[in-house]
Symmetry: C2
């Protein structure tokens, strides 16, 4: 990117740029990820992250949005959370050619069904974890792990969890998001105190109430707040070891 002669030297190296998407949702109280089944070699028959090429006239973000719409079947994905995770560029990561892939994490509310994109044999929401669909094709195990680490950490210090919820949600539903992603149970009363007490995290909808799980007292409804950063953060319980 510095000198003209360098452009002559490297400009036409066969670099392909793709995007890979780790699309998460909460389904039945558990974290799920959208995967596609590969129809062709290499890795035919294995599961992989959805993705595709970045076209010459679009950014990686545009390509990711396009792919997300394609895979989820939604016409408008502008309201969904879509964020870049990192870029994978090991020379041997695709046996066919030199492919640099920009990975994204997407968070969506529970959707009716997965749709197989045009370039995949099948698509499905599968529970996240060390499950039977592993290993994924290419370096997608690592990409998926990195994407999960990112969202798990961001739940602590951002209002990201609301991206998993519909526009109006109860605090019980929001708590289930944290519990599903972190794999830990949270005390409902303490969770409520913290969430309601944090300015800008959620916004109460006056008078509105709805049943959460078909049983129990109807819960008040909330909307996502405007705060992006949480100070202090909503720490998850003993992830690796407290200080003392």
């Amino acid at each position: 990117m510095r000198e003209s002669q360098e452009y002559d030297k490297y400009a036409h190296e066969p670099f392909a740029v793709t995007v890979d998407l780790a699309v998460f949702t909460i389904r039945d109280g558990a974290l799920h990820v959208l995967l596609v089944e590969r129809g062709q070699e290499p890795y035919a028959g294995q599961w992989a992250l959805p993705g595709g090429f970045v076209l010459p006239d679009e950014s990686a973000e545009s390509a990711a949005q396009r792919e997300l719409a394609e895979e989820t079947g939604l016409a408008d994905v502008s309201g969904l959370h879509l964020e870049q995770v990192r870029t994978y560029s090991d020379p041997g990561r695709d046996p066919r050619m030199r492919v640099v892939s920009v990975a994204f994490a997407a968070l969506v509310p529970d959707l009716p069904e997965a749709r197989a994109g045009g370039d995949a044999a099948g698509a499905a929401w599968l529970p996240y974890g060390p499950a039977a669909y592993r290993p994924l094709a290419f370096d997608h195990d690592r990409i998926l792990g990195d994407a999960y680490d990112r969202i798990r950490a961001k739940l602590e210090y951002t209002g990201l969890a609301t991206a998993f919820c519909p526009p109006e949600f109860t605090l019980g539903e929001l708590r289930q998001v944290y519990e599903a992603v972190w794999g830990a149970e949270l005390d409902p009363a303490n969770f409520r105190r913290k969430v309601v007490g944090t300015a800008g995290l959620v916004e109460a909808i006056p008078g509105a109430a709805r049943l959460t799980g078909g049983r129990g007292k109807p819960a008040a409804l909330f909307r996502a707040g405007t705060a992006t950063a949480l100070h202090p953060p909503l720490l998850r319980p003993t992830p690796e070891g407290p200080s003392s």
Copy 2:
């Protein structure tokens, strides 16, 4: 990355892949960044982040390490902190051609002097901030801002600050890192209590002591600890607004 015919279609599009580096250090108690002066159009005479092409047989990480060694003049950069920030891929970000750039943030202890790389008119450590060297070439203002945001946030919940320090340092020097990056003063006694009380952040070197600023009581020496994540984090003072 899915189907063979897609490779035929897109593989030879003129995508160039580069790395751009935001190299930070603490100098005279202030955060500095390594910049190079462009010798050629476009943006000739303006400051830019150091960087260069990713070669066909290397990853973006390898390219970043190579560039870091080149710009700092160090033979071995394996001990330095170098981390991917994000990837910039807007179609128009380089007026000459389609360039996708993977940005990195590097943290180094104070180094003797900057060295102009082969492809730059000059190189210098300049104080970070809204200074006279702005605007930078290309979209480097945004890249530099994103890299700064990343390290500022990571100081809170990781032991990253030790990457700015030499192998043996005093707590006063470590505190200056936080103060320089955050632009806020920290209470020395409280800082010490927190840092020493956090398992794995720093490790005392028994018996060793050294003067910090030429004056005052000699301070005990510490080494970087093994902890990467801090629980609970070392929060910086009132960044945008406390909860209550």
